[in-house]
Symmetry: C2
Subunit: 202 residues, 2 copies
């Protein structure tokens, strides 16, 4: 349990880690650089974190607590008719914002998750499961009312839509570089989400 000074140092190290991650490839983020940036010695870093991954893990945890707003939007928004399309559009925008803010952490989280890292996978689940459950509920509601193909698993549909949101948000710049405007991506994606949730055309 670190005291006041220790907490300040740890926070400084976390911030520098986030900075390094923003400006350097994950593979090249070195403890010594983080320490230098924070005006301290590498040994101090190891007092607070077992390795660079552990620091990023902590950053990812901080991020998760900011992720509730994603699920909130889904639960609170209306999904019927024109307002439903507006909710879907707002959801896309919020995903874009969120990814913009935490881009560098999210990409490491994604890699680590795919590499089978349990800790990152758990954090990813905490972040996206909430969204998935909210979306599943929305889909299930419309499925009961009959307009939706019965044979589809609402959880799977929600997972597919969340994947779409996460991946498009992650590669937004790639698409722009390639001539596709973010606004068009958003509109197409919102339409897919509206369809997926309600089973109906707008």
């Amino acid at each position: 349990m670190p005291g006041r000074r220790g907490l300040a140092t740890r926070q400084r190290l976390l911030e520098c880690t986030a900075d390094m991650l923003r400006s350097t490839s994950y593979r090249d983020v070195k403890v010594i650089d983080i320490a230098r940036e924070a005006g301290t010695s590498p040994a101090t870093f190891y007092q607070y974190f077992a390795d660079v991954e552990a620091a990023i893990l902590m950053l990812a945890e901080q991020m998760t607590s900011d992720g509730h707003r994603l699920a909130m939007l889904i639960r609170q928004g209306p999904w019927k008719g024109k307002a439903g399309l507006a909710t879907a559009t707002a959801l896309c925008d919020t995903f874009f914002e969120f990814w913009e803010e935490y881009r560098s952490i999210l990409r490491v989280m994604d890699l680590a998750t795919e590499e089978g890292d349990r800790r990152f996978h758990q954090i990813r689940t905490r972040l996206l499961n909430e969204v998935n459950v909210a979306l599943t509920d929305a889909v299930a509601q419309f499925q009961e009312s009959g307009r939706h193909p019965r044979e589809l698993d609402p959880t799977a549909t929600a997972a597919v839509l969340v994947s779409m949101l996460a991946h498009v948000a992650a590669h937004q710049y790639g698409f722009e570089f390639w001539g596709i405007r973010t606004k068009d991506l958003r509109d197409s994606m919102a339409r897919q989400i509206y369809w997926g949730v309600t089973g109906q055309k707008a």
Copy 2:
């Protein structure tokens, strides 16, 4: 230009790199381990590749040439009616297979692309652009026939669908671990694709 022996050595190093990548986190893949595995010295590795990334880049290039079948499926398949849904389903299956085969390379490619690496971005574009163009054409065709919302950009719609395919294929095991069956994912995804391409319910 390496001769016969040189080419064999390079190929062996590439295979060992792919092996290491499968069993080790990207961050921890070391030249010395690859060399050991290949029964050669690190210096030999540097005769063929500038660094580990360069080797992975070459693996990614080999992968790209196997990627044509993805676009082929989209161009050849019928998209109308029940057969259209079958084409969408087959597309999902092919994506799953492809990702299964090249999982470890694809995740590094994704990371590097998001980190702004031009070379990996270019390869990613070569791989997915073809798919995207094929899908864009399919969407545009249905849009002309009027059943599709006019205001949507077909390129963006295609991009959104390709993102969905790539991300779900990448995280297939994550979803299964979490209780969602691959088959259900595939069916939900196929439905979204069918909707996205044709603008109609199945």
